[in-house]
Structures are given as structure tokens and as C-alpha cells.
Symmetry: C2
């Protein structure tokens, strides 16, 4: 059990969890687990508007939880690293007890 982290780390930590603290964003991340997807496909799969998804994707990207690349007209999103799935399944363990 480590010491209490620095104030800066605590703020960062809270901010990180804030990102995970929204069902839409979690759904997006789970949608991206099997593989990359474009915005409209995510929207369709979650039954939400393109705009709503785009807004959330921006938040996820700013926090480096997803990354994107352009392919013609479409922009393809994918999970940024394996940490994301790790954190999610960690939380799921706690929830599903």
C-alpha cells in the first residue's frame, strides 16, 4: 500500500475516473473493444445521434482513451491502449459481485 499520492496526481486520477463515469462513454469504449469503428457506426450501434457521439469521442480523445485516423471521408476511432480495457474489466469485477 503506497503513500498518499501528490495533489496533482489526485486531481488527474479524479479526472480520469470522471471520464469513465458516464454510461455513454463506457458503451463507446466497449463498442470499440472488438475493433475500430467510424462515428456513424458507433452512433447506430448505440442508437444515438452522430453529434452526441462525436462530442463524447472528443472527450475520450482529449483524455487519450481513444485515438483516430482518417480514411477518406470517414474518421475511424479505436481504443488508445490496453489500459482502457484493463480499467473497465477491473471495475466490472467490483460491480458484478
Amino acid at each position: 500500500m503506497k503513500n498518499r499520492p501528490k495533489e496533482a496526481s489526485i486531481e488527474k486520477l479524479a479526472d480520469l475516473y470522471k471520464i469513465f463515469g458516464d454510461a455513454t462513454r463506457i458503451r463507446i469504449m466497449y463498442a470499440l473493444m472488438p475493433g475500430e469503428m467510424c462515428v456513424q457506426d458507433i452512433a447506430d450501434s448505440l442508437n444515438m445521434t452522430q453529434s452526441a457521439i462525436s462530442h463524447q469521442l472528443r472527450i475520450l480523445k482529449t483524455s487519450c482513451l481513444v485515438k483516430s485516423r482518417r480514411e477518406g471521408k470517414a474518421i475511424i476511432y479505436s481504443l488508445a491502449d490496453t489500459h482502457v480495457s484493463t480499467i473497465l474489466s477491473q471495475g466490472l469485477d467490483h460491480v458484478e459481485e
Copy 2:
């Protein structure tokens, strides 16, 4: 990589992370890591009002992240299980890269 969880689990997961998504609550949990503490001591250690801490403790307790017992006039709080520290250090890993 598992299947997408049920809707109910996703909501619960988001709610769980929402709890972790506040610096005050994280500070409280870190304060409780070394061992149990009464409300006023937590408040002093974090330089916050007793009321603010009590409100947050109630949220943490409702989510089963801390537990409490009475000892005379005081109520002593402690972390509910080891999952809490696990989740916190997991997030810290991601943050401190």
C-alpha cells in the same frame, strides 16, 4: 476480451466510476488506506468542513466503498474491501505514465 456487458452492468459501472470521479472522495479513500478514522479527523486532515466530509462519506458508504462502526460518540470509517485500493492504484498507474 469479453463480450459487451449487460446494460444494467454498464450503468452500475458508470455509477461506480462516478464515485471515484471526485478529488475529495479520492482523498478520503487515501486517508483511510493506512487505517480507520473518525469523521472529524478526516475533515482536519483534508482541511474541509465536517459537513462536507460527512456528505461524501454517505455517498461512499451507499456505494459500499467504505464501512463504519460506532465507538462511543464517534463513528469510525474504514475502506470496505481491498477492491478500493486496487482500483485506485490501477488508475494511478494510468495517470502516472
